[in-house]
Symmetry: C2
Amino acid sequence: MPASDMRYVYDFTEGGMKQKDLLGGKGANLAEMTRMGLPVPPGFTITTDACRHFLTEGAPPADLSDQVHAALRLLEQQAGRALGSESDPLLVSVRSGAKFSMPGMMDTVLDIGLNDTTVPAVAERTGDAHFAWDSYRRLIQMFAKTVLGVPGGLFEEALDRAVRDNGLTADVDLPVAALQELVAEYQGLVLRETGAEFPQDPDRQLMMAILAVFESWNTDRARLYRRQERIPHDLGTAVNVQMMVFGNLGEDSGTGVAFTRDPATGASGVYGDYLADAQGEDVVSGIRNTLPLAALGELDPAAYQQLLSIMSQLEEHYRDLCDIEFTIQEGVLWMLQTRIGKRTAAAAFRIAVHLVDEGLIDMDEAMRRVTGQQLSQLMFPQFDLTQGAAVLTTGMGASPGAATGVIVFDSETAVARAAGGEESILVRRETNPDDLPGMVAAAGILTSRGGKTSHAAVVARGMGKTAVCGAEELDIDYDAGTVTLAGGEVLREGDTISIDGASGKVYAGRLPVAPSAVVKYFDGGIDAAYDHADAPTRDLVSAVDRIMRHADEVRRLGVRANADTAEDADRARRMGAGGIGLCRTEHMFLGERKHLVEQLILAESVAEREAAFAELLPLQRKDFIRILERMDGLPVTIRLLDPPLHEFLPDLTELSVRVAVAEQRGESQQNDLRLLAAVRRHHEANPMLGLRGVRLGLVLPGLFALQVRAIAEAACFRQRLGGDPRAEIMIPLVGSVQELELVIDEAAGVLRSVAESHGCSLQFPIGTMIELPRAALTAGQIAEAAEFFSFGTNDLTQTTWGFSRDDVEANFFSAYLERGVFGVSPFESIDEAGVGRLVRLAADEGRAVRPTLGLGVCGEHGGDPDSVGFFDRAGLDYVSCSPFRVPVARLAAGRSALPDSSDADTR
Amino acid sequence: MPASDMRYVYDFTEGGMKQKDLLGGKGANLAEMTRMGLPVPPGFTITTDACRHFLTEGAPPADLSDQVHAALRLLEQQAGRALGSESDPLLVSVRSGAKFSMPGMMDTVLDIGLNDTTVPAVAERTGDAHFAWDSYRRLIQMFAKTVLGVPGGLFEEALDRAVRDNGLTADVDLPVAALQELVAEYQGLVLRETGAEFPQDPDRQLMMAILAVFESWNTDRARLYRRQERIPHDLGTAVNVQMMVFGNLGEDSGTGVAFTRDPATGASGVYGDYLADAQGEDVVSGIRNTLPLAALGELDPAAYQQLLSIMSQLEEHYRDLCDIEFTIQEGVLWMLQTRIGKRTAAAAFRIAVHLVDEGLIDMDEAMRRVTGQQLSQLMFPQFDLTQGAAVLTTGMGASPGAATGVIVFDSETAVARAAGGEESILVRRETNPDDLPGMVAAAGILTSRGGKTSHAAVVARGMGKTAVCGAEELDIDYDAGTVTLAGGEVLREGDTISIDGASGKVYAGRLPVAPSAVVKYFDGGIDAAYDHADAPTRDLVSAVDRIMRHADEVRRLGVRANADTAEDADRARRMGAGGIGLCRTEHMFLGERKHLVEQLILAESVAEREAAFAELLPLQRKDFIRILERMDGLPVTIRLLDPPLHEFLPDLTELSVRVAVAEQRGESQQNDLRLLAAVRRHHEANPMLGLRGVRLGLVLPGLFALQVRAIAEAACFRQRLGGDPRAEIMIPLVGSVQELELVIDEAAGVLRSVAESHGCSLQFPIGTMIELPRAALTAGQIAEAAEFFSFGTNDLTQTTWGFSRDDVEANFFSAYLERGVFGVSPFESIDEAGVGRLVRLAADEGRAVRPTLGLGVCGEHGGDPDSVGFFDRAGLDYVSCSPFRVPVARLAAGRSALPDSSDADTR
């Protein structure tokens, strides 16, 4: 393809917000604002096509330079000044702008166009020589570092030296002469380090900066970020070239950021910060105290009114909360950026519904604007901040929740405090697998290093434990047993703190925890949630209510709950579950019944075994009666016993030590010896891959028959009382249709015999978990026997990846996340390429054989919003998750049903 | 489809040997002999189509009865007598005959056509009233039991009573009158038990017997057998109806079985047994002593010559060893059956090559006639029986090999004897997981119960340990510590016995073990094998040599060996390996190097870890130099470290007990405590799914780089000496392309740097194991980075099925085999539907992305003949197996290359 056929440069007047693929997010929005007639400094965008060409061919397109210069000539016309002009020089910024916001890439080079001859012209035009020379100094420093690759430290040292030599403390006070000397020194540095002069030709400056942006697409950090976020490596970035405007040219200049609504609460009305006589970086850096946006109304009423009008125009146009950056140069307002603004979870719900009421969007679109993750955040308990609370520091919200406890610095102390009934917060620089017992024992975890993929964060999320990570201001001294705050304040072991795992805030003392209003709503309905609530809370609850109703209306996918007890079943119904997708029967072998299981395992004769079964039968029957009663009329999928028998026995190492110690002491221990023999016999090297599930059912005669009988008798009992019990019997860990056929033969016989002897009808479907790769791979065979499949994606992930969840999350998942092997733990969100492929394959091949085959999922992925969308697309009938996640799954299922939801996700 | 269009009955004159699907094996061969003009009693075959109709519709085809009667009329014409005739009645047999020989089905009903009115006629025609009435008695008994389902015990009791009442000891002596009374009693029994008279109508007798054969296709035992042997359930059986002939009508009658060559040794010349005045069942039951076939030459020279001529004709016709059954009725020879004869492994090889030399078959066909299993049997050491040896009893050869040792009855004693350096044979009624330590410690295992799928058999084969199972004559008394032989002889603990795991024979005393001549041949060439060998052995070695050469000529599939040391590499070359497909590096961290690994694990600083690496580097380099030297010019696939670190540390339970005991004793144990902390830190709940393979390589910086450096430096060393080192670097346990890319980046850097600093060229391919389902499922992605795949089917089987081999074989595989969940352990032979599907998918999708992708397999399946055929069909480049299995794999690869090998397998 001849390069000359391809267009690589678009003026801002030509593009639009739908062209993010070609122009990047920033460029598309700048073009959109330009086309709306808003005051945007003129400029143009170099497309991602050009970047891709550069990345694959190793050189820019042959005519890129020509196209850039043509666009530049147009820009010069629009600006009324020319790059490199010695009278009124145009200065431009060069900014990267990919489709997705992406850290790690070269961000910005400002003031391109300054050189030895244009500096005096700028000084003269602005009447501010200090400004001109300081800008030039900054250009050389930034250009050398990011475009030429000269170590930035060299320039910082030179600057520090100049400040010292002039007897000053801050560089802003440097006199013009000193800045001029510094410019000369910087130029010498560039020559020394690169062997070439700092480029004086503004055109060369510009082209070099553009190519440097292209190159920065492939820095290690950028690549890592893309791996983690699953952004394709071949997208490339666009580059925006724009006329510079200056907010630091006196009191009639200034700069600010603003939101069209409050992004923290969702309340209507503009919201933002303004700083007079300043540039954008000053606002962001927080060196100077900003004023609330309203102050601009006093300083420059005209500009303020113009700004308000623009913001209103933008919101109407984008139909969403927008955030903007603007600059006022000598009384003239310029829009530098706009984008859809980030917001808190509560704000997301409130804004979405407000926009509906304002007629800007419909309910479908409102549902697209909120996520399952946001709903989930709203369901965690939150600190009650109405009394005010001192924020000690802020880290990253790494695992949501609200935790309070005394500071401990090591795992042992956390365990000891927990044993004494005391809640603690484990405070570490970072954690590693040795800290695991302490992480289990503590109420929350606070680290000073590492981000959302750090060991602490990954493990805490896996446990559902509150964590704040990377609170970098904290100075932790293990030896001294102290943690020092930024302000110098010192906390010690035993001091009480509170951490908020959603916001990342760390508070002094014990804060009261307020139950979530949203949970109150799900648990008790809208009236219960309104009770004693303030107006914003009521508004939030109402927004959640409206969106949930809409989700339930539009969703195709059913949502059930995992519930093992009558209490869980109650909560499941309240949370809106359409049945129980996984009722585990393990707990029916625990507690006071454990001795019966031990008797079963130690049984030396059929009679002894049958006796244990006989005692277990009425107990299990009672359990099933209670659950079937609570879920009357709804399906209850009951899984026959899954875990290996030795889970009901003592730990081998502990028992071995006890026996050996007793032997040393010469103490009698007949029972222990007998138990030890049994434990040894049942010990397995890899119990996850051992004698459990259907294997146990086939090897231990009578076990599954006992459970099926208990279910059947419970159902008959319910039927006699006029109930509508809807049990579904599920066989775990099936790998081949032969296993399933043997169990089905046995179970069907039991059902028939109970139905006959009790005179009731038991048409219960019998199905299987699909939780082994082989079950998925032979799903066509298995569907000949199974009436339904339930994907056990926890186990399926374990065997597909070869990951034992107990071992790997603590041992190396943080390293994997940091090195970008995956962007999210495959236990958190379904791995579509591997595990997901098996799910699709099994669903398709199973349905091909048996079109009426029921399909569900009961792994923890059933409550993960991203995974729910996948299961919907894979054609499953329902997801099942913990009762608490049911609303999240309902919302995710609703969003998944929207026609173009995947586009909306990447807004 | 109107049933009348379908033909369900074929006269013997109409069918042929290629119609086994339709007529079953027996029917096809009877038809073939009939068409050859051999003296076969006339008859006809009812097809498997009819059986399938009966099984699916629950009733026979509407016109089956008409077709049977038409065929019967033809048979009567051929026989010259009629069913039910009161003058010269025709009697017929009804026999099942499926495509595959199959135990558990109804076998035979003889003498159909006898009833109250035909019995006297038979008595008169044969002049033998005793024969006639005894035949009638037997018909009623057999018919009642197998067709009518009356318990057989009732008839046996009546018979015993008659013998007693007549003051006799054997039923053959019963006078005719007593037999007549017995017939009356039997008829009364039938009426009482079934509510209906014993059918007098011969036509009804016939149709009832035919349908009973159909029904017997679905007995539990038949279904189980088919599950175990992977025979489809919907094949159905054929039924053969044939004129009865009698070998028990005096001294000019008789019956025999014969082989056209010696099936034990393969020597040329007929071979068989003959019994005058007897029926076939008398030969098989062994009640009377048979004569060698040659004796017939004296008794009836004409019949003998005719028989020899027929046998020669059959062999020429079938081009293979045939076994036959024949009967002589009053001087007239009748052929009752022929089929391809079973033979020993040695006979298979010798006969195949003899047939080539006789011009009957070509070398392709000769290779089809031998199996990898047979070659494998010939490679086990065998007892030297030249001095004679007393056979104590014979069981089932369950796991091949030759073992000698003292009798022990329990696991503890076996372990204790082994600790004392004494070899033992563990003698048990049956084994269970508790016996595992004893099975490991003993030289061999002998059980009195259970077959080839029993726990003892499955576990022994998994361990490669010699076992004889189901030696049912043995009476084992654990309490007395004795085993009593059939003859009453008693053996005690400590007595020495020898067991042959191929033949199932148990010998008294210690037998000398003769090394396999075939192994000598592979190890040292044909001359070494000929040395001191007798003529049959030389003939065998020559046959093996010719067939192996042919296999190497025709095979497409390469065969490599798994070898970790120079010694293994030597043996691999001798056995004909074309390279090393798996060189494990684990052993390079063992032995005296273990302290370095401990140092590595306990390292608390980077410096300590690097110090351990520095010491390991020259040791590993030396290992690689030696292997690359032995395999000069051939590929050597080196796998980087695979097992988890804690395999190099003491066992948690043992160490915990040691520490606890020492604590009790107040003994100091600083080191142990430090070690225990490390062991606890590295302990994993499911190490198979834990921190190992590429995970360890990514988490422990420097480990893989060390290994790659050692390989690179070793290769440079070999190159400087003029060698041709061809290393291939293999990364274990990869689940995602990201892992592989990270390791390849690191490894490629090391290779580059070593190549530069040593001035050598290191173009070594870097590839990966495919041993996790996810790796197979994302093979298309992984092939972007990997230059080759090696399927680790052991691990792939573990994760695809969710079976930890260490746990499941001992715990429940025998139950699974017995219940027919699978016919063979998926660790022995590749599971094509599950694991095999992943292999095909990964091979296809990998090659689609990278057409030059190398494909091999290095699991133990690489040495399993059945699996080798699968890998060949899946398009792999090579299999790799233990050096000892290389010849077996070569042969299997050769057979797999033959055009219609899969047909030949099912002959």
